[in-house]
């Protein structure tokens, strides 16, 4: 693989981490560092200051990591660089979590000391017609990536006898190409991965439909609209990413047989990653968590608040509620959904998700 391309891919993956710095501005206005606050308290000076601080500090850390990588790139070997890149990314996620904790604790403390919760009525609001609207797009659309996989597989079988016995399967550091002996396993490995990923995309689509409603009792109509649009946009995004991912893997599969495709492979991968990351960032900024950035949500009724569930959120991040039969809930700090860890089915889901990954690593 071309060296420059490889590095560009690395730096591209840093972009979402910069987005993470802005999480306090992307989450719902009623969630302040993982703690439920009344809608009209969002603009309190203390909270404004905390949001600014978090973003500023984490942004600085991101910059440091970026410069660190640039420094390393010129000095260490390619493989050391890649390893340090992966280690840095993971440690960055841990650093962000540690940075988040004092903010979470101090909001929690403020809430407790000021006892404002007693001035508010806690209400749970649901819409009985919520799922009659098309929250997610039709599953039929997933026929597109499915047919792509079938097509790739058919083409691979047809062309199998005509290709040389050694096929390029991997590009190592420094553009060194590894060849593998052709076999049925090398041919069906990628389509199997494609099918597995397709299943994950369809499952995400399902999760978007059934995830718990999160309507705000202070503004039922407004929050309902936000919530519906948010799901719709993300379900379309999921489909598009699903198609793009399938197309990319199909390309890589075909590149094993056709050298002219293999020549362009690194460019195609870079293009794919760029499109995914840029659209992810644009959509996140546009919608915000739960659609909170789609339009201004004003408090129509004073002194009502969503049912306070702080006690079920471990450190404001992990949802664990035995009384709640729901599996998917909206994240409190960040964009998207998380799971109720008190449900056994959640663990089965996670196992199904992790098992193939573990297998891939072991094999």
């Amino acid at each position: 693989m071309n060296l420059a391309f490889e590095h560009l891919i690395v730096y591209m993956t840093l972009l979402p981490l910069f987005l993470l710095s802005f999480t306090p501005y992307l989450t719902k206005k009623t969630d302040c560092f993982g703690v439920t606050i009344p809608l009209d308290m969002y603009d309190r000076p203390e909270f404004r200051k905390m949001r600014k601080q978090f973003t500023f500090i984490s942004f600085l850390i991101n910059l440091l990591i970026l410069f660190g990588l640039l420094f390393l790139q010129a000095r260490v070997s390619e493989s050391t660089f890649m390893i340090s890149f992966i280690v840095l990314i993971f440690s960055l996620l841990i650093i962000f979590f540690i940075l988040y904790l004092p903010f979470h604790q101090s909001v929690k403390k403020m809430k407790k000391n000021e006892a404002w919760i007693y001035n508010y009525k806690q209400k749970r609001l649901i819409d009985t017609e919520f799922r009659k609207a098309n929250l997610a797009i039709s599953y039929k659309w997933y026929l597109i990536p499915f047919l792509m996989i079938v097509g790739t597989l058919l083409y691979s079988f047809i062309i199998y006898d005509t290709i040389p016995s050694e096929i390029p399967t991997h590009t190592g550091p420094g553009g060194h190409v590894t060849y593998s002996e052709k076999s049925m396993t090398t041919i069906i490995l990628l389509p199997i991965i494609q099918l597995f990923m397709l299943a994950i995309f369809v499952a995400s689509q399902y999760a978007i439909t059934i995830a718990k409603q999160s309507l705000h009792p202070a503004n039922p109509k407004g929050s309902q609209e936000q919530n519906k649009k948010f799901r719709r946009y993300w379900s379309i995004f999921t489909l598009l990413i699903g198609i793009a991912t399938t197309a990319l893997l199909s390309y890589i599969q075909l590149a094993m047989f056709h050298d002219f495709l293999f020549q362009e492979q690194s460019k195609v991968i870079l293009l794919f990653i760029t499109i995914v990351i840029v659209s992810l960032i644009i959509l996140s900024i546009r919608t915000g968590q739960s659609g909170s950035r789609l339009n201004e949500l004003n408090s129509e009724t004073d002194h009502v608040i969503e049912v306070d569930e702080d006690e079920h959120w471990i450190l404001g991040q992990i949802y664990f509620n035995r009384q709640d039969p729901t599996i998917f809930v909206e994240k409190r700090f960040g964009i998207g959904w998380t799971v109720n860890f008190a449900r056994p089915i959640t663990w089965i889901f996670l196992l199904i998700l992790l098992l193939p990954l573990a297998l891939l690593i072991v094999i």
């Binding site: 806690q122 749970r124 039969p325």
Partner: protein
């Protein structure tokens, strides 16, 4: 229709849920034959035990407000509960009597009392005409 539940209230959730659905039907926000979320979906959205929703639905079914089909799920009974009977009226009297007595003790006049009931009736009717 929006259903609002108060988790801090003394009234059990299943009763609140029942009341909300009956008010919805009375005010026309829930139309005859309209589908309601399944027990699982409703419980999951509210964040409560399946049994709680099941209890509310079953009681509403027994009272004639809902139909629970195996395939079509939970729907608002187009026929509604049976018309007011003598027995039901006697029950209603028993429920209202202490409340009216209490209001009288609190110096509510006959006129105030009737306009009060009228206003509740109008409120439900008004929602219906929307």
């Amino acid at each position: 229709m929006f259903i609002e539940l108060d988790f801090q209230s003394e009234t059990p959730i299943y009763e609140q849920l029942k009341t909300e659905i009956i008010v919805g039907i009375a005010s026309g926000q829930l139309t005859p034959g309209e589908r309601l979320p399944s027990v699982r979906q409703m419980a999951s959205d509210i964040g409560i035990n399946l049994h709680t929703v099941n209890k509310a639905y079953t009681q509403l079914k027994e009272e004639g407000y809902l139909l629970i089909h195996r395939q079509r799920g939970v729907v608002v009974n187009p026929e509604g509960p049976e018309a007011m009977t003598k027995e039901r009226q006697a029950q209603l009297r028993q429920i209202l009597r202490p409340l009216i007595a209490d209001s009288l003790c609190r110096q509510m006049t006959e006129k105030e009392l009737t306009t009060f009931i009228q206003s509740i009736y109008d409120e439900l009717k008004e929602d219906r005409s929307k």
